[in-house]
């Protein structure tokens, strides 16, 4: 399956391996975090290979730490390359964020001021990654929770410039835009309208929740169905830029496979209407 044939996909969950393998829905594909499959062998890797033999796969990294002020860990890149060689993913992506720093890994997508210095560093890191993998990758907009001083660039201009300088694609997470717009106080629709559509290789949709603490922040918790507002933003985006491989993400309170497939059908219908 090439990326043009990829419709709506699902994050692959260990509990759903059997159902994922059997499912023959048109345009269906699966995404995983490569970190969970960078192992020597065993049933986990065997399942991924089996599912990859039936469906297109996407490797969506969470730990390359492209926005750290240092090059990506060469060993980690080697492992990513080995996994990509083994399962031949249709898409490879990472985040505009950092998480590994000075030999420690902090499992989150951490923010940074979008300075000229950061742009140079990240462009270099994306280039290294693309060179190591021998392919184009897509970079995702993360969720924002903090008002940071010292930005030289808007987020859209920063991503567009990275794409221009390195040739990378973009992964547009519509739920992240909705959350960031709420938390930072901007208009999600206008933001999406200004996003460089030609560079979008993949779209993410997910559910979110309200901060259980005392703030009014929305949290990118991936523990609920996609919200109505996010579906509306998604339809508007697809109407403007056309169909793109779209992933439904769910990482907590995971329902049965059929429930996720039903949600996935909603996205598939939007994509088919745009073709």
């Amino acid at each position: 399956m090439n990326t043009q044939q990829m419709g709506a996909g699902l994050g692959l969950k260990a509990d759903h391996y059997d159902a994922a393998l059997q499912c023959a829905a048109s345009g269906l594909w699966f995404e995983v975090h490569p970190e969970n499959y960078m192992v020597d062998g065993g049933p986990r890797l065997a399942w991924l290979e089996a599912i990859g033999s039936r469906h297109a796969l996407s490797l969506h990294g969470v730990s390359l730490s492209l926005a750290a002020d240092c090059p990506p860990d060469p060993l980690h890149l080697q492992r990513l390359k080995a996994l990509a060689d083994r399962v031949q993913p249709a898409l490879v992506s990472e985040h505009l964020a950092w998480s590994a720093w000075r030999g420690q890994y902090h499992p989150d997508l951490l923010p940074f001021p979008r300075t000229h210095e950061a742009l140079q560093r990240i462009a270099g890191n994306i280039q290294r990654t693309q060179d190591a993998l021998g392919r184009r990758i897509a970079i995702e907009n993360p969720t924002h929770y903090l008002r940071l001083d010292g930005h030289d660039w808007s987020e859209i201009d920063f991503l567009a410039e990275l794409s221009k300088v390195t040739g990378c694609g973009l992964l547009l997470d519509v739920n992240n835009v909705h959350i960031s717009a709420h938390n930072m106080g901007f208009d999600a629709g206008a933001w999406l309208d200004a996003f460089p559509g030609h560079a979008v290789m993949e779209i993410h949709l997910a559910g979110h929740s309200i901060d259980p603490g005392n703030s009014s922040l929305l949290i990118d918790s991936h523990d609920a169905p996609v919200a109505d507002e996010v579906w509306t933003l998604y339809q508007r985006l697809i109407a403007r830029i056309g169909a793109r491989p779209t992933l439904i993400e769910r990482d907590d309170h995971i329902p049965p496979f059929e429930v996720l497939m039903a949600e996935r059908t909603t996205a598939q219908t939007v994509l088919e209407a745009a073709q």
Binding site: D40, D69, S99, A118, Y145, I219
Partner: protein, 253 residues
């Protein structure tokens, strides 16, 4: 003062783990900062919970997560593959002041790590008894038996760590009386499933000798020193049928 990217990242990580600085005050006072702090901590604790399920069952989730939080702050993950996180957790439990009434926790945690290691080890075939049948009797002493990556064993000299681990791993009820004796465990992955069985100190010594590259005759001598009544043929049959070895090659003279 505007921080460099490096300066920002150093100060941000300090603030994540509670070390405040003037440079981060404007950020760490915002409610959004605790979202990052909580997500990082939850991610690390969830990884320990996934990697040490037997410990969590033994001590309960509340105790486990409180202990894990202390460990995370002292030893954050060094590897983005969180499947590997917790290398130092058994030693942490050995020394943890609130676990002094449960001196076996560290060893039970070591067995959870054995399970994880075997689960993701290299895929290799195993030899069967027929492979030994083709070795000429005169050559048996020079047989080099190589254990599979997906086989691991451990001897605990002064605790029934295997029984404690197995009962909780299999979600059984603890027996009222537990013999406080040394125990060993052998964990193996065959056909995609990790299985376990009790092994003796002699079995472990023999397997250690195989890993060290000693031929059968010398490995057996070591095992016989520990247990003069050992039946080597029985030991070989048990280990081979348990899928322990990837190869058996006669060492050239």
């Amino acid at each position: 003062m505007k921080l460099s990217l490096t300066g920002f990242q150093d100060a941000f990580v300090d603030a994540l783990y509670g070390v405040e600085s003037a440079a981060m005050a404007q950020l760490s006072e915002q409610p959004g900062f605790s979202v990052y702090r909580n997500t990082v901590m939850k991610g690390c604790i969830d990884a320990l919970s996934a990697n040490f399920p037997t410990i969590e069952r033994l001590v309960g989730s509340e105790w486990f997560r409180a202990a894990a939080a202390i460990h995370v702050t002292a030893s954050p993950p060094g590897d983005a593959r969180l499947l590997n996180y917790g290398e130092a957790f058994p030693a942490f439990l050995d020394a943890f002041e609130h676990a002094q009434q449960m001196p076996y926790l560290g060893n039970v945690a070591r067995l959870d790590r054995c399970w994880s290691q075997v689960h993701v080890a290299l895929d290799e075939p195993s030899i069967d008894l027929a492979a030994l049948g083709t070795v000429a009797p005169d050559d048996m002493g020079r047989l080099l038996l190589k254990p599979r990556a997906a086989a691991t064993w451990r001897w605990f000299a002064d605790q029934p760590a295997y029984t404690l681990w197995r009962i909780n791993r299999e979600q059984l009820e603890m027996p009222e009386n537990l013999d406080w004796i040394g125990e060993g465990a052998l964990l193996i992955r065959s056909a995609g499933r990790v299985t376990w069985q009790a092994v003796s100190a002699t079995d472990c010594l023999f397997l250690d000798a195989c890993v060290a590259g000693l031929p059968l005759e010398q490995a057996a001598e070591r095992a016989l020193e520990l247990n003069p009544a050992l039946d080597i043929s029985d030991l070989l049959t048990r280990l081979v049928t348990a899928d322990v070895f990837v190869s058996a090659v006669v060492e050239p003279r």
